[in-house]
C-alpha cells in the first residue's frame, strides 16, 4: 500500500493494524450494519440465495487462499475437501445423532485431518508433482463417497437432511439461512485476515517464496506445510457443512474436479495472496455465472435457432471459465485485488500521480 507522502507509522500497533483510521472504523461499522440489515432492506429470495452461495464459497476460498496463495502449496482438490466436511457433518448428524452446532466444528476438524493426510506428500514433493497428488486426492475422495458402502453414503443419490434448527428457529428460508451463514462468514474472514499476519502467516509466505531459504531461516518446513493444509481444509470443511445446511442435500457430484479448478481460477481472478481478493473473485465469478444463466442464455435462445442455442448454452460454462482465466492470467495475473489497490491509490493521491 502506498500512502501519501508524509504519513508514517510511529508505533508498532499502527504498523500492524488492519483498520488504520477512524473513518475506516466507521466504514467497517456501516458495512457490518448493512450486512445485518440486508435481508430487511432487500427481502428478495433470489438475491439472498446468490449472496448465501457467495458467502459459503468465500469461506472455502479463504482456506484455499491460505493454502495456495500464502503457503504456495497448490491444491487442485479443494472441492473434495469441502465434500469431506459436508459428508462428515451429515454422517455425524444422521448416524452420530449429534446436533448441527456440534458437528459443524467437528466436520471442519475432519476435513482438516484428511487435508493433513493428503498434505503428507508435500514434505517430499513440490510444484507439479504436488499439484497432481492433490488431483489424485480429489479423485480418491470423491470415488470413496461414490462407491464406498452405498447403504451409508447413498452412492450417487447422496444423502438428504432435514432443516437445521436452533431452539424454535428453523433454518429453511433464505433469510434465516442468511443469518446462519453471514456471521460464520464474517468470523472466518476475520480469522483468515489475522492468521496471515501472525507468525504462522509470515512463515507461510516465506515458504511460498523460497522453501529452502525458509528452512534455513529456522522455519520448520514440514510442520508449517501441514498446518497450512490443516487450516486450508478446515475452512473448506466449514464451508462444506454450511453448504449442506443450505442445500439440505449432499451428493458426490457437487464436489467435482471442475469445482476445484474453478476455485483455483477464483483465487487467480481475485488475486492470489489477498483475503479481499478471494472475496472479490467469488463475487465476480458468481455474478458472471448468474449473467450467463439469466441474461445470456435466454437472449441467445431468442436470437439463434433452438438447436444451436442449446448447444452453445451447454458449452458456455466451459468456454466462460476457459476464457476468463486465460484473459486474467495474460492481462492481470495479480487479479482484481491489485486493480482495487491501484484504484484506491489514485483516489488517495489525487491530484498527484505518484504511487501507481
Amino acid at each position: 500500500m502506498v500512502r501519501p507522502a508524509g504519513i508514517f507509522d510511529v508505533r508498532y500497533e499502527q504498523d500492524i493494524a488492519v483498520v488504520r483510521t477512524i473513518p475506516q472504523w466507521i466504514t467497517l461499522g456501516i458495512f457490518l450494519l448493512l450486512l445485518i440489515l440486508l435481508p430487511q432492506i432487500f427481502p428478495n429470495r433470489y438475491l439472498l440465495n446468490v449472496i448465501n452461495t457467495i458467502m459459503i464459497v468465500v469461506i472455502s476460498i479463504h482456506g484455499l487462499n491460505i493454502l495456495t496463495g500464502f503457503a504456495g502449496q497448490i491444491s487442485a482438490g479443494h472441492a473434495a475437501f469441502m465434500g469431506v466436511g459436508a459428508y462428515a457433518c451429515a454422517s455425524l448428524m444422521i448416524f452420530g445423532g449429534l446436533s448441527y452446532w456440534v458437528s459443524l466444528p467437528l466436520s471442519g476438524l475432519a476435513a482438516g485431518l484428511v487435508g493433513i493426510l493428503f498434505g503428507l506428500p508435500s514434505l517430499r514433493l513440490k510444484g507439479f508433482y504436488l499439484a497432481i497428488t492433490t488431483i489424485a486426492a480429489q479423485f480418491i475422495i470423491i470415488s470413496f463417497f461414490l462407491h464406498f458402502k452405498p447403504q451409508i453414503f447413498g452412492g450417487a443419490q447422496g444423502l438428504s437432511l432435514q432443516s437445521i434448527r436452533l431452539g424454535s428457529i428453523i433454518f429453511n428460508t433464505q433469510v434465516n439461512l442468511y443469518y446462519l451463514i453471514m456471521p460464520i462468514a464474517v468470523i472466518m474472514t476475520y480469522f483468515a485476515q489475522n492468521i496471515i499476519r501472525s507468525r504462522m502467516g509470515r512463515a507461510f509466505v516465506a515458504i511460498r517464496d523460497n522453501d529452502l531459504a525458509a528452512e534455513i531461516m529456522g522455519i520448520n518446513l514440514f510442520g508449517y506445510k501441514l498446518r497450512a493444509f490443516f487450516i486450508g481444509c478446515f475452512f473448506a470443511g466449514i464451508a462444506g457443512s454450511l453448504y449442506i445446511a443450505f442445500m439440505r442435500l449432499i451428493r458426490p457430484d457437487q464436489y467435482s474436479l471442475m469445482d476445484s479448478i474453478w476455485m483455483l481460477g477464483i483465487i487467480i481472478i481475485g488475486g492470489m495472496g489477498s483475503i479481499l481478493g478471494g472475496i472479490l473473485g467469488v463475487i465476480f465469478v458468481k455474478l458472471l455465472n448468474e449473467f450467463i444463466l439469466m441474461v445470456l442464455t435466454p437472449s441467445l435462445s431468442i436470437i439463434l435457432p433452438r438447436e444451436v442455442a442449446s448447444r452453445i448454452s451447454a458449452s458456455m460454462g466451459l468456454v466462460a471459465f476457459g476464457l476468463v482465466v486465460v484473459l486474467f492470467l495474460i492481462l492481470e495475473p495479480r487479479g482484481l485485488a491489485h486493480r482495487w489497490e491501484i484504484l484506491k491509490g489514485r483516489f488517495r493521491h489525487w491530484p498527484f500521480t505518484y504511487g501507481h
Binding site: P121, R124, G127, I140, H147, N210, L212, I216, R311, V319
Partner: protein, 288 residues
C-alpha cells in the same frame, strides 16, 4: 487364465494410448517446464476432425487436415497463451493449460455437439490368431507406433543438432539462450511435436471408441502415467503408460470399473511417496 490374457491385452492397448499421450506431455515438460493438461483435448479435437472430414473428403484428406490442425492448435496455444507466462509462478502455467483444455472442450461441444462420431476404419478388420487368442490389428500397430516413436525420439535427442538444443534448453533456459539457442523456437517446436503425438494417439483412440467431446478425459487419466514414470523421462512415459493401462484394465476386469478409474491415482500416490521424482525422473539437487 484366458481372461487374464484378455484383460492384459486390452490393458496393453490402453497403455499404449496412455504412453503416446504421456510422451507428448513429457516432451513439452522437458523443454518448457509446463505440464500440458490440454494434451488429451488436443487428441479429442484430432479425433473429431478426422471423424467428420474423412467421410466427405476421403481418409487421406482427413488425416492431413487433422495433422495440420492439431499441430497448428498446439503452436497457437504456446505462442498466444503460454509465451506471456514465462517467469510467472507455477500455478499460472498450471491453470493456463487446464483452462485451455476446458476452452477446447467447450469449443468442441459447441461445434460438434454431444454426438458420438464414427471414426474411419484405418486398420484392416481381420484379427490375428495367436494360439487361442484373437489380437486386433490395432494393438500390433500401436506397438509399432510406440516402438517407432520411441526410437525416433532417442535418435533425435541423442544425435541431431535440434535434439541436442532441446536437451540443453531442458537443462537451463538462460544458459542455452546465451549459448546461441533460440529458446522460444524450441518451445514452439516442442509444442508442435506434442501436437503430432496427440494426433498419433488419436488414431488409436478413434478406432477404440470413436469421436466424442469427452474423449479429452483420457488425457486426465494419462497424468498418473506421466508422473509414475517421471515428468522428464521419455522411457518413464512409455513404461508408466503401460503400467497404468494394464493395472487399470486388470482392476476393471477383476474387481470393478469404478475402482479401475481410481487405481492409477492410488498407485501414483504410493510411487511418489517412495520415489518423489517418479521411477525414472531426474533427481534435481536444489540450491538457493
Amino acid at each position: 487364465m484366458f481372461y487374464f490374457f484378455h484383460f492384459s491385452l486390452s490393458g496393453i492397448f490402453l497403455g499404449a494410448i496412455y504412453a503416446i499421450i504421456a510422451l507428448g506431455i513429457v516432451i513439452i515438460y522437458k523443454s518448457t517446464k509446463v505440464f500440458n493438461f490440454a494434451q488429451g483435448h488436443l487428441l479429442m479435437v484430432a479425433v473429431l476432425l478426422s471423424a467428420t472430414i474423412s467421410p466427405r473428403f476421403g481418409i487421406i484428406a482427413g488425416m492431413i487436415i487433422s495433422i495440420a490442425a492439431t499441430a497448428f492448435i498446439a503452436w497457437m496455444l504456446e505462442r498466444l497463451t503460454l509465451r506471456p507466462l514465462i517467469g510467472q509462478p507455477l500455478i499460472a502455467a498450471l491453470l493456463m493449460t487446464i483452462s485451455l483444455g476446458y476452452l477446447l472442450e467447450g469449443g468442441a461441444l459447441m461445434v460438434w455437439g454431444e454426438g458420438l462420431y464414427k471414426y474411419p476404419e484405418l486398420f484392416p478388420t481381420e484379427v490375428i490368431q495367436l494360439f487361442d487368442m484373437t489380437i486386433k490389428q490395432e494393438v500390433v500397430w500401436a506397438f509399432i507406433a510406440i516402438a517407432a516413436g520411441f526410437s525416433i525420439f532417442v535418435f533425435f535427442y541423442q544425435k541431431t543438432l535440434l535434439g541436442k538444443a532441446m536437451r540443453a534448453t531442458a537443462e537451463d533456459h538462460q544458459v542455452s539462450q546465451s549459448m546461441g539457442i533460440r529458446v522460444t523456437h524450441i518451445f514452439s517446436i516442442s509444442w508442435v511435436i506434442a501436437g503430432l503425438m496427440g494426433y498419433v494417439a488419436s488414431i488409436f483412440l478413434g478406432s477404440l471408441s470413436g469421436g466424442h467431446y469427452l474423449n479429452s478425459h483420457l488425457g486426465l487419466k494419462a497424468i498418473p502415467a506421466v508422473l509414475v514414470g517421471g515428468l522428464d523421462s521419455i522411457v518413464g512415459a512409455v513404461i508408466g503408460g503401460f503400467i497404468v493401462g494394464i493395472l487399470e484394465s486388470l482392476v476393471t476386469g477383476y474387481l470393478s470399473g469404478e475402482l479401475g478409474e481410481v487405481v492409477p491415482f492410488i498407485v501414483l500416490l504410493i510411487v511418489l511417496l517412495i520415489k518423489p521424482y517418479g521411477l525414472f525422473g531426474l533427481i534435481r539437487i536444489e540450491r538457493i
